[in-house]
Symmetry: D3
């Protein structure tokens, strides 16, 4: 059962941001290996894997929330990448972030747009490299 | 121009939650009438009315952000109503709120689910009343 | 396995605040029954039940965090009750809350002390009633 | 010395909102009497009493911060009253609150304007009562 | 009209922090040019330009709010500079930040004072350079 | 009296994190020397020095709160060090941080665990250096 939750979560997180998920597993493996497991089981096995909402819709929610919170920029970066991976366009991601000005103010939006700009630029340059 | 922004915003906000918008206009009309106007012009005229994202997608973002923020429950209520109005199902709204446990913790989700429960119950009872 | 996680979590949460936990299960049973289950499994089965920290120490952490967050007073109330149930004294709970003035400022402390005062008064009156 | 800090703080807080300060002292006197004293000594004796900034300027700062934080409405109410007492006009207080839309978003402003409206209405009615 | 709002906002923001405003316009010009425009129109054209409060008073409010929020240090830096530009002294800015210990706790103040120290040092060194 | 508060606070803070406290005093000595003094007097002289709670218990509260707040990582680092100094084990600190996933979500925990990992690694390497 528990293995099922991990396996299901790991499969889902690969669709969103596999390298980001692996980096978190690596970072946690000495300091808190159980939390690394809980994260995949609970966040991705229990929640993201549920059939009631598409991964695209789930990433709209996550990008909005992380922008609004404002103090979790590394995680926002991982989900801007995730959003692109599950079908959001760059323009849609910018729309989501801009809308947060209404709910969290301008500074949170400026900091989030800078993250988006960096992710978009990195994609651009990896596409253009030989 | 400014009139256009207000008109455009007012039209958009009617699709989301017209009675909620009217209630805010009424509440602000003595204390801060200019802010009542800015709100329609900026939030709904400048941002929500943009063509790059559907109102359904915009409400996913807003419900997620207001749940994650945690301290703006009256506005969350207005947007749970708005989400239903622009095509989100009750189940989808519950999925969005539950997912926020990952980003803002359990208490924020419990408080938001209580709001959703109240909105759903009010709809139910208004549908069932003769 | 999943049943084990729920059973373990339910047993742990009974030691902290059984009636509070039951009230949450009841409140969620129509709107989000799966979240009611996740909450027991993850928060209390996976985390609170771990042997590395006593329930008394865990409640110090929770009362501190909920005071510092400031916008989750219903959950703070449940954990002031929980803290008393697992061995914290009233004076210790007041010390924890007061200390948060350093990290979250005075208003958060004032609002939390009012919650503590209400919980202490309710205990007093239930002890004194015939 | 400590007595001086309390005396100085108490004198300052009388200029801002004497009845509000007394209400807090009363509320804390059983649950946390030492915190009641610290609050006057530190917040008002050490900080508000400093000569480097007028009480009017200090209340601009406090009303702005409490609006931006969003989850401390009882304290915001006390300082809207305080701001009026130390020379801010109703219009200036509304300007300060509206400006926070830029930094904390619209919901925080709406909730703060409702507090301001209530305080202004209470003043109005007490002025007009025989 | 819209042009008027931008022009009015741009003129106001020049008085506060012209180079900071230009840097934001440059940073946004590829990723979200419309938001760059909204920011000037709404924040500075609609709000900061209003006659009801001096720019000095407005910067007291903004420095207080950004200190209290705690997670928007780049924007705080821009407004410490802005505060000096519109007539606040270094000592007054330090007073505003210190007072926030009451409302947001000590860590937020320490992080804000470090920002202020850096801005003051940069001014000092630019004044002293030949 | 005031001298007593400082002396008492300074003695207490030496038990928690003497070098961290000295670094803060040094950082503040030009920009806000009075705040440097208030910090020792109020936070450590008035609050941490109180006999009603052990320093180990106080550090549980502080590590929990700073993890939950999420935007004060330099202060969290100082108190992970402080927690180790007053008797918390590395495993206990990790337990406290992990538990905060329930109250503040996963990103806050990930960022806090990275801080803990750095502190633990620095201790390890200073123990192992000749």
């Amino acid at each position: 059962m528990a293995e099922d939750r991990f396996a299901r979560g790991w499969k889902t997180v690969q669709q969103i941001n596999g390298s980001g998920a692996q980096a978190i597993q690596d970072a946690l493996k000495d300091v808190a290996p159980d939390f690394a497991r809980f994260l995949v089981e609970f966040a991705f096995g229990d929640l993201y894997s549920r059939p009631g909402l598409s991964l695209r819709d789930r990433e709209i929610a996550t990008i909005a929330a992380l922008t609004a919170k404002g103090d979790v920029l590394p995680q926002l970066k991982a989900h801007v990448e995730g959003g692109l991976n599950v079908g959001l366009s760059k323009d849609e991601i910018v729309e989501i972030i801009m809308q947060m000005a209404i709910y969290s103010g301008v500074p949170a939006v400026l900091n989030a747009l800078e993250i988006a700009r960096e992710v978009f630029a990195a994609r651009e340059s990896s596409v253009n490299s030989p």
